[in-house]
Amino acid sequence: MRVVEKRQLLSAEEINRTLQRLAHELVEKSGGTKDLALIGVRRRGVPLSQRLAKIINAFAQVEIPVGTLDITLYRDDLSTVGAQPVVHSTEIDFPVDNRDLVVVDDVLYTGRTIRAAMNGLFDLGRPRRVRLCVLIDRGHRELPIEASFIGRTVETSDTEIVEVRLQEIDAEERVMLVDRVS
């Protein structure tokens, strides 16, 4: 099996513009920034959440707390993956009780990652509200989960993969649609 790039979904410039819009939407729809905190899901949700906080800081002059969530221990497929994945740290150094949380991830697909993320968050306390912000929503949900903030909605087929490349992790910046050909 190999993969071929079909088309580019977002350029570096478009990623930046999308994040700018998402950051404004986030503050607007939250009625301010009181109790607001962002939770980046490892891995690519982490730089995205940090960038959103930075953008908000630039226009609203507030420091939004940002945490990092590793969902490995909450996955529902551990018994089927064969080899156990490596666990990483969850770093949320503020109490989540009564917080207005926004979970940030790169791609929303089956919804299983977000289900795992919510289990992880509720082990830490009782947030007042949890919403979801994603850069790409590619459909094919397997759980009743939807995002409150969406960068771009993309029609995809089962065999296609949305690949998000971010400077902080991949040393390049773009979003691609790739396909598997056997």
């Binding site: 018994s79 064969g82 156990q84 666990v87 990483h88 740290s89 791609v107 299983r112 082990d123 598997r180």
Partner: protein, 323 residues
Amino acid sequence: MLQRLQHLLGIETLTREQILFILEQAKPFQEFQRHPLKKLATLRGKTVAIAFFENSTRTRISFATAAARLGADTMNLQAESSSVKKGESLLDTVRTLEAMRPDAIVMRHSASGAPYFVAERLEIPVINAGDGTHEHPTQALLDALTIRDRKGKLEGWNITILGDILHSRVARSNIHLLSKFGAHITLCGPAMWVPRQLESLAPGVRCVSRIEEALDGADVVMVLRVQTERLHEPSLAAEEYILLYQLTQERLRLANPDALVLHPGPMIRGLEIDSAVADGPQSGVLEQVTNGLAIRMALLYHLIGGAAADAPHPAKERNNASD
């Protein structure tokens, strides 16, 4: 590439990379101990057999708690109340346990090498929770984690181990582990417990008879429990041991000012260690206990389900990449 662990039998045969990997994997579990809700479903439906053919309270509780916090169930076998008393062989006992289909077995045995014997004959991962006077690998790992947390790194410290080194599996596992990280290890205690041959156990080990000399310049002082049944006239009386080898505040001043004091427990205050030291700011005794849970959770998670350090993170696999 990192060699995948199938069992944890001893420290001696582990590589530096494997040790560092386990310490790294313990980090998320350390932070987990601070969660208000200490229960994961990660190993739900898995069973850990805890077979102790020798008395122990703390290690057993630590393993049972680690399994419970990962969502696994435990089966307990205690030698005093079991068929072992009735004359069943070790192999028959563990085979019986295995027939109940646990996913891993944690065992302690008074015979050195017993877990190796069992690991060769069972299909499931075996974790050595202490075998005779040989090894106690999870203790060395939790000590290493405590040293790294408190001192910032693991490499190159002057480590002093006090007490009955000869009969101590804790000392042996610690010597093997720390030696791999370039430690200068000083062993000190009564001559009958610190034979010179121990110097050939690993690189960087020396034996010293005077505690003052042993403590001079130490960065970490590990105090071992003294088994009172081994202290008797005429060879060595308890009062004599206290006089010559007890770690007191005054003696601790000979070590480096920020030296860390460790004790595997159970501690006998007033015998091998003075209360002021045990409760003092340099003591890492209670952190050792908490870190023990983190290490044991990391190991159970890693070993059950065929965990592999070099396996690709499933989230990075192509078909899941966009989840």
